[in-house]
């Protein structure tokens, strides 16, 4: 997938490292129990 952006081996390695890092972050978001039934924020503050 990352090859759609670049063919440079050094960048591809960096992108794979970043993919793994971000995947871990995303998993941490699914691990928030209170978010199980939460609505998404919309960016506006009036809904706080």
């Amino acid at each position: 997938m990352t090859q759609r952006w670049t063919q440079d081996p050094e960048e591809l390695k960096a992108m794979e490292d970043l993919r793994v890092l971000v995947a871990g972050w995303v998993e941490s978001l699914y691990a928030v129990p209170e978010a199980r039934y939460a609505n998404p924020a919309g960016g506006h503050q009036a809904d706080v």
Partner: protein
């Protein structure tokens, strides 16, 4: 008299005619001539038009005319905001040169100009306000005014280092994850991320549509209050801009925190490394808030890590939507840190983005609950000073952010001001963040000002400035 160090002093001195606008602008130009090659503050300078504007302000002052609340004050404008004075690049080879003309001047820039300020130029940033400096591109590599071999922080880099190096008295910054507060911290000045939606962000290239906050950067909280008074208010061109009446931010500054309850989180759990001076500097700052009348309560900010993570995921996802086609067609025109950090989220799903927005809502709900018990929250802005520029890796774009504790506040959208609290073990500035409930920008400025009436860290000057002749 010596040139004023703050906007507040300058406005009073101009009205008394103790100093002229031309003198202020000439002094700013002199500082830029001496230091800009070391600090990388400017992308474009407006020396000639600034001098002409200053002369016109002086003529009007001499005639007894009202020149506006910022009349004659030199300001820098982050080069992601469109203005009529000159080009806007977003520090990128990719931005369409006609973009600014297409979108028109940013309303917040127009408001600053209509208030009488003098635009000194467009300041350096990170490309499209994201990533880290890429010395391979034809743009400035911004250094801290306290240590030019260290990063000025970003992305409002030149806005921060320019205020700290006397190139202007205040600046427009923007903050999506920490981009006002980090360069404020690392240059020893004050920076306010206002409540999301208080200041219109149209006419500014977006980073994260639901996280972008334009705001003021200056030496003092009082200066930020004066600038915010001009910048705040609804504009229909920004769909996220709230229909709320701005309050009297300057009038709120009374130096007294009696009766205010402040929740304190030192956030040591968030950093593997702390500067050795940071804990003592932070505790000394807390003692000053207490001496100003506040009652301190130790708390733990709920979902601090997860809220910060949500900010990063949302910001980068929204940024990828904006840049996706350009990245596919012009990959190598982007700086390497920019293209790598934006595409870091290219393999997450729409569901993942929504999950981040759900966590954001939970974090907001929990913060709202916390604000039922306290009036303000205080935490470190960063636990470390700025990294050496030679150590900033182009291939590891998140590494320069070690020790930065700012994304959580952006995901909440609450007003948060970064306030200087003294120097680190490396001689670079440290900072605390003061946050209040949504729309209580007056409260964070009041607390920051009360602290600054008791201390002088915001007026400390980098040794570098002694090289500028008077």
């Amino acid at each position: 008299m010596n040139n004023p160090q703050t906007i507040t002093e300058a406005v009073e001195a101009l009205r008394r005619r103790d100093v002229t606008a031309e003198q202020l602008v000439t002094s700013s130009i002199r500082a830029a001539d001496a230091l800009d090659s070391k600090l990388g503050v400017y992308i474009t300078r407006f020396d000639e038009s600034a001098l002409a504007a200053a002369k016109e302000i002086d003529r009007r002052l001499d005639a007894g005319e009202d020149v506006g609340p910022l009349g004659g004050v030199p300001l820098g404008i982050k080069d992601i905001a469109a203005d009529a004075e000159g080009p806007t690049t977003s520090q990128s080879l990719v931005l369409d040169p006609t973009w600014a003309a297409q979108v028109g001047e940013a309303p917040v820039v127009t408001r600053l100009k209509d208030a009488g300020s003098i635009l000194m130029g467009k300041t350096s940033t990170m490309e499209f306000a994201i990533g880290s400096p890429d010395p391979g591109k034809p743009f400035p590599v911004p250094g801290s005014a306290w240590a030019p071999d260290r990063w000025a922080g970003g992305s409002s880099s030149g806005s921060g280092s320019g205020v700290a190096s006397d190139m202007f008295l205040g600046a427009l910054g923007t903050d999506t994850s920490g981009s006002i507060r980090v360069p404020a911290a690392w240059n020893g000045i004050t920076g306010l991320k206002p409540t999301f939606g208080l200041v219109p962000k149209s006419g500014i290239t977006p980073l994260g549509f639901t996280n972008d906050h334009p705001g003021p950067m200056a030496r003092s909280a009082a200066d930020c209050a004066l600038m915010l008074s001009v910048m705040a208010g609804h504009d229909p061109s920004d769909p996220y801009c709230a229909r709320r009446r701005p309050v009297d931010y300057v009038g709120a500054l009374d130096g007294d925190l009696t009766g205010m309850r402040i929740g304190v989180d030192r956030l040591h759990r968030m950093s593997e490394r702390l500067d050795s001076e940071q804990p003592a500097r932070f505790d000394a700052a807390l003692a000053e808030l207490e001496a100003a009348g506040a009652h301190l309560v130790d708390i733990e900010l709920p979902l601090f890590a997860e809220g910060g993570t949500a900010n990063i995921i949302i910001m980068l996802s929204e940024s990828l939507a904006y840049h996706r086609n350009d990245l596919l067609e012009r990959w190598s025109d982007y700086g390497q840190p920019t293209r790598l950090i934006i595409t870091a989220v290219s393999q997450i799903s729409g569901a993942d983005y929504i999950q981040a927005q759900r966590v954001r809502q939970v974090a907001r709900d929990k913060a709202a609950g916390l604000f039922k018990d306290v009036d303000l929250l205080v935490a470190p802005t960063t636990h470390l000073g700025p990294p050496l520029l030679k150590d900033v890796s182009l291939l590891d774009p998140f590494a320069p952010y070690e020790g930065i504790q700012t994304p959580y506040w952006a995901t909440l959208g609450v007003p948060t001001v970064a306030i200087p609290i003294g120097l680190s073990s490396e001689g670079t500035p440290l900072s605390m963040s003061i946050a209040a409930p949504w729309w209580r920008d007056d409260a964070v400025l009041r607390a920051g000002d009360a602290y600054q009436r008791r201390t002088s860290f915001h007026l400390d000057r980098s040794p570098l400035l002694s090289t500028v002749g008077s």
